[in-house]
Symmetry: D2
Subunit: 135 residues, 4 copies
């Protein structure tokens, strides 16, 4: 298993009038989490795109256990639990507040697509090499 | 079963550099869908909040079958498949483009909370009455 | 002068914990306003992009007179007060609530850019023809 | 004059299909900039709100000189050029990319409001004390 953590400060734009982070914005926290997880491995999503591979999200499941609030310094934990296969990769995320309480659990599955043909492509070798040591 | 449809024009702010609607923004489409579904029954979520009941989302599951694109006029279909119970309500949504292609499927579960005590409360009578005729 | 009005329902995602629409989101209302204004003339921004002209915003000025609130049905009025020149176009917007109160005033200036060269290009003939009758 | 800088990584949700950060999202960068500027002085906006003072934005002016792009690590510089008076405070912001190029200039004016009465209130003493040493 591969796990990585990053911190995000909740800014005002993300809150709604319930006084919590709007539920749709957690997708952004998980996006930041997996981007920083890849960066920690030496890989940027930006470089993948410039090499012609895009990764659209095909499945997003988020469970809201406790609200995230304005100015919370949250920790996003991003994990890979299986070796990606069939042109797919699934990230498992958890979000904690500063008291260590679990606020949110999320699962995000993305597809590897060739940006020109818009057809599925295999996991790029660069990613495969970087993560295979963790399994 | 109760079903309602509403249309949304995709504006530029919702796109990302992949040229598609950013995956996290579909939560907003489903929000608009269920708000308009309730309005069609004669109920506004706004009036519920002003009467002291809030409805935080506790589970969001979205499946992305085809991308939604800039300026698409999408149709969001919102359905209730079961009578809500245990202070929860689950909306099932589907999003179609103008060609009738299914772009997205989503399930959103919300909790009925007393805004003062922040404790679960039963389904408000007003909603119960409005929807029971459909089951 | 050319003027056009369109209506937008404020959804929950746009509110913040102050109970108002987050100030940064008014840019989206003005975007929708000018897109629908162009559409009323028979022109879609989408078709312009597909013909190779993009219109990045270079100046945005928004004045907040009264807050917009959740579920408000706002009217966005979009006006052209001068014939565009020097590869620029300026839209003047005003946002009213259902009581006719002026909530917001905005001015947005966009540039006509050739999408390939990323250099300024003249106002496309199609737009020039559509708007010249108003001046 | 008081000046403070903070860094923000541009995530995917902020981009649009032009391949740039959507113009309306710069308001969020300036929000983060002034929040962190206040925090550097020992003051959180969150604590101000919990003490009953809210600060709605009443004027936002943003000039877009160069686009911000995905994964850019931008620097937001936030300055106070005058002592706030008449229940108003104006922040001047500049945003630079990693090459030190100026991407954006913004001016944001906020009002001090008593959250209960929704009437203007004087600059809270705590802020006045913290910033007066800079002028």
């Amino acid at each position: 298993m591969f796990t990585h953590s990053t911190q995000i400060r909740v800014h005002y734009a993300l809150t709604d009038q319930m006084g919590f982070v709007y539920h749709g914005h957690f997708a952004q926290f998980y996006e930041i989490g997996r981007t920083e997880a890849l960066r920690s491995l030496g890989l940027t999503y930006k470089s993948m795109e410039s090499e012609g591979v895009i990764m659209p999200v095909i499945d997003l499941h988020t469970r809201f256990l406790r609200p995230a609030k304005y100015d919370d310094l949250i920790t996003v934990t991003t994990s890979l639990k299986e070796v990606p296969e069939n042109s797919r990769i699934t990230f498992h995320g958890e979000i904690f507040n500063e008291e260590g309480e679990l606020l949110n659990k999320g699962t995000v599955t993305l597809l590897f697509l060739d940006a020109k043909s818009m057809k599925r492509c295999p996991l790029p070798d660069r990613i495969a090499e970087l993560i295979q040591g963790y399994f």
